[in-house]
């Protein structure tokens, strides 16, 4: 093989890479917060109300979970303008990521809510808790603590999947890589470097999520989060 690797070339594109990393982090953090909040609301709605609400939430979850993220992005970015809603690439990425993550979070949190034993709720009522207190202290917080590791795995997967947003011209990290490649023609080197950055981001995100878990739910949950490599959300 006569090819010589030249990683030095990439150093001059430091700014492009840094701005890509920054947008990837911004999109991930915002979609995690919004998606998780939406997941809590939808999973709660679903458990409180039956009938039409439950059907609609389930339909939403199933549709999103059974179609590719790339196509969801295409519909948001290319499809919505046809309906009169024009959004920029960054906004489209954030909308797509939030819609996607909300569906997965709903499914995970639903499983947590269903795992709360009926006797716990009865015990809460027997202690004179109001419905809201029962919901808050007996149902949702223990449910979240139980599924937190699975949620975290999903968050990391979402951060990694944000690379797909480069296909709709969002200038995040993967798009930075494509740009540098088109300028320097050092494709393999660029993608090696960017892949390592993603790996570092994934490890950092996992560590941060474990700390957040420690702060929110205490030590037991944090340890499970740190050791969980890929808990199947399904």
């Amino acid at each position: 093989m006569s090819y010589t690797f030249q990683f030095g070339v990439i150093a001059q594109y430091q700014d492009v890479i840094l701005s890509g990393i920054w947008l990837t982090i911004k999109l991930s953090v915002m979609s995690i917060i919004l998606g998780c909040a939406a997941g809590i609301v939808l999973a709660s709605l679903r458990s409180v109300r039956g009938g039409v609400v439950r059907f609609l939430v389930d339909a939403y979850v199933e549709i999103i979970r059974n179609t590719p993220f790339l196509i969801q992005l295409f519909i948001v970015y290319f499809g919505l303008p046809g309906l009169g809603l024009r959004v920029g690439a960054d906004t489209a990425a954030l909308i797509g990521m939030t819609i996607n993550l909300a569906a997965y979070s709903t499914e995970i949190i639903r499983a947590g809510i269903e795992a709360v034993h009926k006797s716990q709720i009865e015990a809460g009522e027997a202690l004179g808790f109001t419905r809201f207190q029962v919901y808050r202290h007996v149902i949702i917080i223990p449910a979240l603590a139980k599924v937190y590791p699975a949620l975290c795995s999903q968050f990391v997967l979402m951060m990694l999947a944000s690379s797909i947003c480069s296909a709709i011209s969002t200038n995040e990290l993967a798009a930075s890589a494509a740009f540098i490649e088109s300028q320097s023609y050092r494709s393999f080197e660029v993608y090696i470097v960017v892949t390592l950055i993603y790996l570092a981001l994934a490890l950092c995100l996992r560590a941060v999520l474990a700390l957040v878990g420690l702060w929110l739910f205490g030590r037991r949950v944090a340890r499970r989060t740190a050791t969980a490599v890929a808990e199947e959300a399904a």
């Binding site: 790339l70 290319f78 499809g79 296909a167």
Partner: protein
């Protein structure tokens, strides 16, 4: 200037794209299944260095985007002087991707076989290979079915990423049709519907298997 509209012919083109999606999924599941199985065995091996190596592989694959695996194999194979069609790069990277996740799923299944089963088979003077072959793996296989089918859904969806390196499967076929018709909403909803038609039955199968398994187990 007139554009094509999204009609039956265009839909047929999408269906031909779907064939490639299915083929790529099958390649990924077979390739990733074989490699993933070996890595899962390495992950629970009695040799420490083998366990660490397999664990590192899994951590790396699960810590990088599928898109990066695709680009690396696409350009990497080119650098190695191999002039291969995109199907090969796509198949290779989906195999690598699937192996990292299947290995971890199956490791969990192997380890969830109760310890007494190992001890009982050991007391029958079985070799380690025999223990795997006759005692542990048949039970692990049963446990692994729901999550493996569930992961197959992820693979079907992630094959869409191969469109970014120019492999004409369902997502890429949708883009091509969209470029000719300029009816993005209609085209991509049709594409999404086709993915749904493949993925939803698999998801339901996974769920059904999981329910059945819970009924059968004594836990």
């Amino acid at each position: 200037m007139t554009f094509r509209t999204f009609g039956p012919d265009e839909f047929l083109f999408l269906l031909s794209g779907l064939q490639w999606t299915v083929l790529l999924t099958i390649i990924a599941l077979i390739g990733g299944g074989v490699t993933g199985f070996l890595i899962a065995l390495a992950r629970v091996s009695s040799l420490q260095w083998l366990r660490i190596a397999a664990g590192t592989y899994i951590q790396i694959i699960q810590g990088i985007p599928v898109l990066m695996i695709l680009f690396l194999s696409y350009y990497g194979l080119g650098l190695a002087g191999l002039d291969l069609p995109p199907l090969f790069a796509a198949g290779a990277s989906m195999t690598v991707y699937a192996s990292g996740y299947l290995a971890e799923i199956w490791r969990g299944c192997i380890q969830s076989v109760p310890k007494q089963q190992w001890e009982a088979s050991e007391s029958l003077a079985m070799t380690r290979a025999q223990q795997y072959r006759y005692v542990v793996l048949p039970q692990a296989l049963r446990i692994s079915l729901p999550s493996t089918v569930g992961f197959a859904v992820q693979v079907v969806k992630n094959t869409s990423i191969a469109s970014i390196i120019g492999f004409v499967e369902l997502a890429r076929a949708g883009q091509l049709i969209n470029n000719a018709t300029f009816q993005p909403f209609r085209v991509f909803v049709a594409v999404a519907a086709l993915y749904f038609v493949v993925c939803y039955p698999l998801s339901q199968l996974s769920r059904w298997l999981e329910r059945r398994l819970h009924v059968g187990s004594h836990r």
